[in-house]
Amino acid sequence: MSWLSNALSSSIGRKIIMSITGLFLCSFLVIHLIGNLQLFKNDGGVAFNIYSHFMGTNPVIRTIEFVLLAGFVFHIYEAIALTGRNKAARGPQGYKVDNIGQNSPWQSRNMGLLGTIILIFLLVHLYNFFYRARFGDLDPDINSNDDLYTLVASSFKQWWYVLLYVLAQVALAYHLIHGFKSAFQTLGLTHRKYTPFITYFGYAFSIIVCAGFAAMPLYFFFLK
């Protein structure tokens, strides 16, 4: 199997892992967004708590959780490995004057920075919601499900928390604007018939998904 490990550790192999894990994480975003839309339901969180109880206890979901974790780990590991290789490739002496901003989009050049912002957000997010829902001691709601909804609602009453979430979604939107179409390019899935659609779909996907997530803290802060 050395051919496989050689292929996957080559520059193109690592990019292919980045693209597959990236698209997988995009699919997670869709599921996460659709489920969390129940936060907007005006029922005091009953539906949302049923959903979060299901997500925390269903054996299929719990298994896929490990696949999701692996997706994040590989995406981050390959990003670090590629960044190291790419920084070294410039050599010890960089340019004194570099106007690379004139020939490429900002977000494309700053995927690592955007990814780091998203990672910091992710750790805070996991600690506050995932960790406390799974391992914490939330009070039961009327259905005696853990009342995650109340924790969400109270968290999003703090302005700095809302700000962190909204900024993270802006970073995620820019990350996806480059990442979505870039994944198809890396996988070689380009065609003059479909690539323009993938590009536009990627834009729409990035903005709609991130606006959807950003709407949640803003809704609780301003309207609840």
Binding site: G91, V97, I100, S104, R109
Partner: protein, 261 residues
């Protein structure tokens, strides 16, 4: 001078030129003044004027790479004001004319920067890494025999055009120079796809892409992050589509070739 503009005003310019004695020495930007530069001169002719001045003063001239000076050989390679081959799209340094600059401008001139392209001296860089990538597979090793009759090998016009577009790569290295990752993917992809698209390239199709990508990695070039600087700076307009073809060829070759290493 035939075709020159008699009303064009000569220019005085300040140059900041990278000077470095040899591969191991430290280099730095050195300021020079050049006077009476005709807007009709090419960038390299302007450097010739500078070098003549330096020789008259008994100083070492600035070393830079050049050959055909008509935009087809791929020898010239200057990073001018932070852009590969200067600010003008679709041109090599030799085809960049001084009319693109203004009297009194300061112009920064640096060599290509990549670990795989060491600086020989001043602005001259060693691009033999590209030669070694070509030697790893960028050819068709069949006995071609005599000239075949026209249209004996059927190739659709649209495919022939795409292969020809890829084949216009002159191997100057602007893609590596302008890429923030110093990636050679645009160059390698042009060389892979020009042959992968044509019938003559089929026999060695899988080994070619495997060997060329392996050599590209061995030379220390970075990995593509699809930012698009390379295609924007490419003097002959090699398209990013070739990189997608390279990725596809690589994936298919790794999945189906008989190479177990």
């Amino acid at each position: 001078m035939a075709g020159s503009n008699p009303n064009a005003k000569p220019m005085d310019l300040t140059l900041k030129v990278w000077r470095q004695r040899n591969r191991t020495a430290d280099g730095q930007l050195v300021d020079y003044q050049v006077k009476n530069i005709s807007p009709d001169m090419s960038f390299l002719e302007m450097l010739d004027v500078l070098n003549e001045d330096l020789l008259h003063k008994g100083e070492d001239p600035v070393a830079f790479d050049h050959d055909c000076r008509e935009g087809i050989c791929g020898s010239c390679n200057l990073y001018i004001n932070g852009r590969a081959h200067g600010p003008e799209p679709g041109t090599t340094t030799c085809q960049l004319h001084m009319r693109k600059f203004k009297d009194g401008d300061t112009i920064v001139v640096e060599p290509w920067r990549a670990a795989a392209f060491p600086v020989n001296r001043d602005l001259s860089v060693d691009r033999s890494a590209f030669d070694r990538i070509i030697q790893a597979g960028g050819y068709v090793s069949v006995n071609t025999g005599g000239v075949p009759d026209a249209n004996e090998i059927p190739v659709p016009k649209s495919i022939a055009d795409r292969a020809f577009d890829a084949a216009t790569c002159i191997g100057c290295g602007a893609c590596v120079a302008s890429c923030k990752n110093a990636s050679a993917m645009l160059f390698v992809s042009a060389k892979v796809s020009q042959l992968a698209l044509l019938p003559q390239g089929q026999v060695e199709r899988k080994t070619r892409v495997e060997n060329m990508v392996a050599q590209m990695d061995k030379e220390g070039f970075g990995a593509c992050t699809n930012i698009g600087s390379c295609a924007a700076e490419c003097p002959v307009g090699i398209s990013l589509e070739n990189i997608a073809i390279l990725n596809r060829e690589f994936l298919a070759a790794k999945a189906t070739s008989n190479n177990l290493a």
